[in-house]
Subunit: 313 residues, 2 copies
């Protein structure tokens, strides 16, 4: 299958590499010049569970795509949330009537962005529990195991979604076809919507957040706002189950000592965050539905204020 | 007049010194051992607008008061908000039927604490726009000018309140008798309730907070919560006027480059904050009245979480 990876950072490198190893025709697309240069020169160099692998795959900057005479069967979207729209604006020439897109970004509402570029029956949504890291331009560190859950958003997309599930699984990506991927997306968004914003604003790791007596009420209130907005999209979140799911991350012997990605983006690297696609998305959806979401509103504003204060870009 | 200063830090030193200079019989009370020791040894040494003054005044730790055979006419409360209750618990022996207390603390609801120790007709509330600093134990730096606004909380207290107004004014403290001191207290609490918590959580100065496009809505929402709760205490805040009042602080050529006191307490010195007596007080009062105050709730929780993360004491 001809597959483009829109956003070939750490996770995109994993998907590109594993699908390339299975014989698919991969095109990487990324906007980091040093990364592009390194992969063109040396290929993608990956430490895959301790085995060093070099894979030659073409890589382009998004703005180079229009000059190619190329269409693909599948685009795997793995950009940062705030880069998705610009990416697809740049790579429209890859898309024909049969091109499908699977969106694996964290956060909510990406299907609305994608619908500007591809018809709804060709849009698949998914979440992934794989991890991935970059050690430098062109160098991926890919350890551990994970899985992918995916589903078409329109009934007409089911056959292709099942095909993607098979292709991913053959490549070792452990995909399952879901009958309720939106529930999984919202449930995962609750984890990001609590840990990311709070640890960023409080400048702390997950265990430290979990150890504060006041945290439970903050987290439960945010989950409640997600749940009442999710309900308007026919997604039923069990708030107690979601809270307990979030609380499993507090364990210092698990991921507790890690800082969430938003903390790394903003506090460590002074980069703009994805808050508009997590808590900010709930605020906007709530507005449309006439539902108050004050904690999501306030947390989104605090993160934007912090972006401004730190001069994040 | 026999006057005790309950909390003889920077501001308490100013009031004690200026009233002492006018001939009043002052007793300082403070809980900082080095400060007590320095004042006992050398007197209070103050740089009063450039003039060095040494004033010999007795000073005690709160727990020493019970051992004295002494009552006073007036207690000026200038503790940190979270030390008020413990202070008055320790110094009850100073209080007789005629003893009045004037509370000059920032924040809300202190009259409820004081009412445990002194009858309501003897309680006066005030706010002060004076500034004061300590350069070290026993050494105050007192520059600039200011004023005091005060009022009895029960009609029976008016005569004494007017007497205190005169005494303060004679001592150069520029007091005015107010007919609506609660309005002034709430209006000042709005300044503290916006700048203090937000600059603390965002770790920024006032100008940086004011410069963020998202700040206006956060500040207006917090002021709105203060206003709807104040209304239940028959205090009418003009939200637009209060917002404009808060916004005057953003000017970098004014106080904008300063960090609010809560930031200094928590971020710089890792001390517990007064948030429970500002936004936290609005949350509690809102709870009692069945009024939602989510921004005050969330901001109070965030500050408490940050206190825990920093191990503040």
């Amino acid at each position: 299958m001809k597959i483009a990876i829109a956003g070939a950072g750490a996770m995109g490198s994993r998907f590109g590499l594993m699908l390339h190893q299975q014989g698919h025709e991969i095109t990487l697309i990324d906007q980091w010049p040093a990364h592009i240069e390194a992969i063109r020169e040396n290929g993608l160099i990956a430490d895959l569970n301790g085995e060093m692998i070099t894979a030659k795959m073409p890589i382009y900057a998004p703005e180079e795509i229009a000059g190619l005479d190329q269409e693909v069967d599948l685009i795997i979207a793995l950009t940062k949330a705030n880069q998705l729209d610009a990416m697809f604006n740049d790579i429209q020439s890859l898309i024909n009537e049969d091109t499908h897109v699977i969106c694996l970004l964290n956060g909510l509402g990406h299907e609305d962005v994608l619908a500007k570029y591809v018809k709804k029956e060709n849009i698949l949504l998914g979440i992934t529990m794989w991890t991935a890291g970059l050690e430098g331009p062109g160098r991926a560190k890919l350890f551990g195991t994970g899985e992918v859950e995916l589903e078409n958003i329109e009934p007409a997309g089911e056959a292709f979604a099942r095909k993607v599930t098979d292709i991913f699984t053959e490549a070792g990506l452990n995909a399952v076809y879901s009958t309720n991927v939106k529930h999984s997306i919202w449930r995962k968004a609750c984890v990001n919507g609590t840990l990311n914003g709070l640890c960023t604003i409080l400048d702390c790791n997950i265990a430290d957040l979990g150890a504060q007596p006041v945290s439970e009420k903050m987290i439960r209130t945010i989950i409640h706002e997600f749940a009442i907005v999710a309900k308007t999209e026919h997604v039923e979140l069990d708030e107690e189950e979601v809270f307990n799911h979030v609380a499993t991350t507090f364990d210092p012997n698990g991921v507790g000592l890690h800082h969430p990605s938003m903390h790394q983006d903003l506090i460590k690297n002074n980069r703009l965050t994805e808050i508009d696609y997590i808590n900010g998305a709930v605020s906007r959806k709530g507005d449309v539905q006439g539902i108050d979401t004050p904690y999501c509103d306030f947390l989104t504003a605090l993160v934007h204020a912090k972006e401004g204060i730190l001069g994040a870009q």
